[in-house]
């Protein structure tokens, strides 16, 4: 339910941004993002202006629905942001599809709170070698970083640190433990 609402909201506000950002390898251009917002606002203003001159009611409806969407999104966002640990497959650093909604919520939060800072802690399970796992943990942290950047966070808000296999979340030596250890933890340094 909340997820759906969020998808809609994010789809509306960030869809275009996501596509352009994904295609570039580097960081999201903050200037471009705010430009988009500015032009969208100015368009609304123009529409408002022309609407009042035309005397139609359609414009008022869109303004009202715009506000309601905003509050709904922050609610969904708050719920999704409770997820701060994201899991990966063995020897993989690809973000799983079930991680994306929550990551988008973190990105949206970071975008709207420019003073917020996070450390992305990458981890690997104990299988394989220490240094390769260190690299793998970093890869995972970087994958999350890219995803957050593509969805509106800025580079200065994000720091990646890999702990490799050195700090497991769970001590067991079986697949269910390993699955919990192959992870990225989002840790807010300031909100």
């Amino acid at each position: 339910m909340q997820k759906n609402a969020l998808y809609k909201a994010l789809g509306l506000t960030l869809g275009a941004l996501l596509v352009t950002a994904c295609s570039s390898t580097g960081e999201v251009n903050e200037g471009e993002a705010s430009n988009t917002t500015a032009s969208a606002q100015s368009q609304t203003k123009t529409t408002n202006g022309s609407a009042s001159s035309n005397g139609t009611t359609a414009v008022d409806t869109s303004a009202v629905s715009g506000e309601s969407l905003k509050s709904e999104m922050s609610q969904a966002e708050a719920a999704l942001m409770e997820q701060t640990v994201f899991y990966f497959d063995f020897d993989q650093s690809t973000i799983k599809s079930d991680s994306k909604a929550a990551l988008m919520a973190h990105a949206a939060y970071l975008k709207s709170h420019s003073s917020a800072r996070v450390v992305l802690e990458g981890h690997a399970d104990e299988r394989g070698t220490v240094e390769y796992n260190l690299a793998l943990g970093e890869r995972r942290g970087m994958a999350v970083r890219r995803y957050l950047l593509a969805n509106g966070a800025s580079a200065s808000q994000l720091e990646v640190v890999s702990f490799g296999e050195e700090r497991p979340a769970v001590m067991g030596h079986n697949e269910s433990s390993y699955a919990k250890n192959r992870r990225v933890e989002i840790k807010y340094q300031s909100r």
């Binding site: 220490v130 240094e131 970093e138």
Partner: protein
């Protein structure tokens, strides 16, 4: 002052809690293990010696897997000199060699004279005298073991060498870097941190070690002089810096630097302190290790998908793939004679230590009784590989000979033991 002292005590307490105290247990010896009797060395002094010299020699030889050491209780006589050895008696006891010796006072210290007798040829193979201080009796014993081992196997002994390794407590809140004899005795804590310590590596002169510490919150490479404990922050770069490896001539340090998630191999010239990038690939490149020629490196790369081992010519940066069997081969070490590549190999769901003959390409998986084997480090005589393994929910050190014949474990009483690095021969 008082608080500082208390802080020190607190550190020592946690440090002690994570101490390992390793004891060798041979799990598999050579089929052709040589039967040898090490007769307790005679000592005429009034007080008992602080160390059981011949007992240590017997442990060393037995622990190597190359020898089957006769229990003292089966001995009929206990000769202390070459003249007192009756060959027929040892021949009847089915021994090939007998080691006898005696210990005497030598100024402040001791002198140990020992003899190796060939039971079948009925000759004295060697006679040697070694002296040392009272605190060096254990070193004297390892010296004798090295001497006997070399004489009887043709391979230099490594009983006088050292290990460094990392121990951690269960909840990973304390990380210790330890220094010990190759048999696990005389363990000393040389660095302790509440953040991870990984990848210890010896300088070829055996005087210092390099390692990676997370103490500043991210990885950095440190050198530590063993005699003084003096530490030096050598490399801390934006991003991650890890996997130090000294070149055999001691002039260069290969390492891994990663910025924005792209680990590549670099080299630091230890004289000029200039760094040079050696690989530039979007895949993971890590775990560099020098070959004996000071020119080639082996390293792990995920450029073909999963981790595989590659060779890099540092002079022209040409890269050649070395491993093809299986989908996970990593952390390679090359024996000093350049003949074997030792690495972590995944077979099915298990991770084991494998050896690859560099001439024929033949791969032999050396370990099977332990699980999650990692961090192989080759003894300086090329005979054994020490590695970390998982056993009964704990991480222990284990060793296997390069031919897979000899296996032993160094289980610890407490905590996890990881990342062993075998010293050069001093």
């Amino acid at each position: 002052m008082v608080t500082r002292w208390l802080g020190f005590v607190a550190l020592m307490v946690v440090a002690l809690a994570a101490r390992a105290e390793l004891v060798i247990e041979v799990t598999q010896g050579k089929q052709s293990a040589i039967p040898v009797a090490v007769v307790p060395f005679a000592w005429a002094g009034p007080d008992a010696l602080p160390e059981d010299v011949s007992g240590i020699v017997a442990n060393d030889l037995g622990g190597s897997g190359y020898f089957r050491v006769m229990p003292e209780s089966n001995m009929i006589t206990k000769p202390a000199t070459a003249d007192e050895v009756v060959y027929s008696e040892w021949s009847n006891l089915r021994q090939d060699f007998v080691v006898v010796g005696n210990i005497s006072r030598d100024g402040d210290g001791y002198a140990v004279e020992f003899h190796v007798m060939d039971v079948h040829q009925k000759v004295e193979l060697l006679r040697h005298r070694v002296k040392g201080k009272g605190t060096q009796l254990r070193d004297i014993a390892h010296y004798i073991s090295d001497f006997v081992f070399k004489k009887l196997t043709g391979i230099p002994g490594v009983f006088s060498t050292k290990l460094v390794y990392v121990t951690t407590n269960r909840d990973r809140t304390r990380f210790n870097l330890n220094y010990a004899d190759a048999d696990g005795a005389r363990e000393q804590l040389i660095f302790s941190s509440d953040q991870p310590i990984i990848s210890p590596a010896w300088a070829p002169d055996g005087k210092k070690v390099a390692y990676v510490s997370f103490e500043t919150g991210r990885t950095a490479i440190y050198f530590q002089e063993l005699a003084t404990g003096k530490r030096e922050l050598v490399l801390k770069m934006k991003g991650s810096t890890s996997a130090p490896a000294f070149s055999p001539d001691g002039t260069k340090l290969a390492f891994v630097h990663s910025y924005l998630g792209n680990p590549d191999i670099y080299v630091l010239d230890l004289n000029t302190r200039k760094t040079e990038r050696l690989t530039n690939h979007y895949a993971i490149d890590t775990e560099p290790q020098w070959m004996a020629d000071n020119r080639h490196l082996v390293f792990t790369s995920s450029r073909a998908g999963g981790p595989q081992i590659y060779q890099l010519d540092t002079s022209n940066k040409a890269v050649k793939r070395m491993t093809y069997e299986g989908n996970y081969n990593a952390r390679a070490r090359v024996t000093d004679d350049g003949r074997k590549l030792i690495y972590v190999h995944r077979s099915g769901e298990s991770f084991h230590i494998a050896s690859q003959d560099l001439r024929t390409g033949m791969v032999q998986v050396l370990t099977s009784d332990t699980d999650l084997d990692e961090s192989p480090s080759v003894a300086p005589n090329g005979s054994m590989v020490i590695y970390a393994a998982s056993e009964a929910d704990r991480s222990i050190l284990a060793a296997v000979s390069v031919d897979g014949d000899v296996k032993f474990r160094l289980p610890s009483k407490y905590g996890d033991v990881r990342e062993p690095a075998w010293s050069p021969i001093f």
